[in-house]
Symmetry: C2
Subunit: 329 residues, 2 copies
């Protein structure tokens, strides 16, 4: 019998990952290469074509490639383009779906990376069997993808799920966000946000800490997590502060969707209980009575690690009749 | 030809309205009576039965009654019951859908009042032709109903759309909400919220104002609006303050859904430009770049005035194949 596969592509600011994935979420072949986002888009496209063709040449005669799913920063499912992605020097509107269509002639679907991750959790991950949940990717920034009634929420312009840019501090001295606003959630709840918090706390507190000898640029999420595990007072307070804000926002998001669960992905989620326990406490303290003790908080063990699964899941939904997400080209 | 109708029932804390409505949203007959929410549920049910039968007796021989839609405080579409509605002495779980099914043997659907209003706007109101919008009812409290991809967002437990209970002030001296939380949106953005703001401003400001001679209990939304129209400094500042908070929340809600519009209903929306102009300004100031200048803010001219249209629209969607909202009984 023919074995049907789709190609998942995860375009990141640093690395691009591609992989062949079957309907059950098994990854057959995978490859990673440098995105080189500061080089022209055509350079990237040439490299992508070469890598995909190499992957395809490994297919056996009974393998059939059905379509391609793409997850990328600021990608718009409606237009098929990446729109003004920060850190990419590829222009304002990058027609990724159309480029791939031209190269390979297969059905293509594209979504913003966090939205793709949410669909990955829905099809192959911790959201399997759930109809209503919210994925939060806690990395350099804070991305989100919302599954409502079993489908990805896309919104009017294909740009739904930007919870990282809700306002959590409306005072004039709130933190400046890359997006141009002040006080966005991701300026507090993300690896970058935690670095900022650590530096505020270093200025504010008197406790000795190894963190005092590390520069802002050198301060990684791993260093902060490690310090917290060693009971560093500043790191612990930073997690507490971050969890308080994240928990309030999760309660607010729940008041919109009444979700079954939040699924956390990304670097910060690896901190585990140090982050999750106080986050749940804060969320429960702020949840509207109808939702109290009903909303699960889960840490993904799946597609976060295998980032081609989200894009592949998007592609699979084009062929299984489950998708309300239109494929564009 | 037979004329098909549905019955819409709007159960309010003070009045209950019932009406026969055709597929185009024309109201054929309507009746209003006192809910008497402090009397037993069985008393209400007896009165409702009498009033519905009176309305039905006015039907002509070619009229056909297809089903019943109900909007009520804290009503859960999944369970068919009103759950812990404040101000009702009818018990904790009031099985409205099942009661009506027993009495009339027709298909029944029930939804919380703001959710029903959103479906009313979708079918018969300003949301006609839209697929993504959010209804905010600014009355005694703040209710909300969310339409995403052409369907009402119900959530995991049938309780989605409680935007009135997102947190807008996490400080310890934030306003106390009826729901038991502190700092809920509706403690600021609602008629009751504006009364609280007016009293804070009376305490804070030195300006002469007719509002200083009115008690908290006697301070209505109309009095505040009237004062603002007369350029009363305290009333104007209260609208500004309220609009600032409302606009920030609308930006935050937009970051979840990417909606085409917000549709405002209820007493406070009647203030018109005094509220809406600064609300739009605040929303635009806080919108994530992808949504700027794309989200409309509309004041309903429709179902808000004819509150049986929302419940009737819910009922109609059971028969037009458009509904993803299940009917329960």
């Amino acid at each position: 019998m023919d074995k049907e596969l789709v190609l998942g592509i995860d375009i990141g600011g640093t690395y691009t990952k591609i992989g062949l994935v079957d309907a059950l979420g098994n990854i057959f072949q995978t490859k990673q290469f440098a995105t080189e986002a500061k080089q022209p888009y055509t350079t990237f496209l040439g490299r992508l074509k070469t890598e995909i063709n190499a992957l395809k040449s490994g297919l056996q005669s009974n393998h059939q490639l059905l379509g391609i799913g793409v997850g990328a920063p600021n990608a718009n499912t409606h237009t098929g383009a990446m729109e003004n992605p920060p850190n990419f020097k590829w222009g304002n509107t990058i027609p990724v779906a159309h480029s791939l269509k031209e190269l390979f002639g297969l059905p293509i679907i594209i979504a913003n990376d966090a939205n793709a991750a949410a669909v990955g959790e829905l099809e192959f991950g911790m959201g399997k069997g759930m109809k209503n949940f919210v994925v939060l990717t806690l990395g350099t920034g804070l991305g989100s993808g919302i599954i409502s009634d079993g489908a990805l929420v896309l919104g009017q312009n294909g740009m739904a799920g930007e919870i990282g840019h809700v306002n959590v501090n409306s005072s004039l001295n709130a933190r400046q966000c890359n997006c141009g606003l002040l006080g966005c959630l991701e300026t507090y709840v993300s690896v970058t946000g935690m670095r900022r918090t650590i530096f505020e706390l270093i200025a504010e507190m008197r406790d000795d800490s190894p963190l005092r000898s590390i520069s802002f640029e050198a301060m990684t999420g791993e260093i902060i997590s490690e310090a917290a595990l060693q009971n560093d007072a500043i790191a612990l307070k930073a997690f507490e502060y971050t969890a308080e804000i994240l928990g309030i926002q999760m309660a607010d998001t729940a008041a919109h969707f009444d979700p079954e669960a939040f699924i956390l992905l990304g670097g910060l989620s690896k901190a585990g209980d140090i982050l999750v326990r106080p986050t749940i406490e804060s969320m429960e303290n702020h949840l509207f009575v109808a939702y109290k003790n009903k909303v699960k908080v889960l840490i993904s063990d799946g597609p976060g690690e295998h980032t081609v699964l989200g894009p592949a899941a998007l592609a699979w939904r084009m062929f299984t009749g489950k998708s309300k997400e239109p494929h564009m080209v």
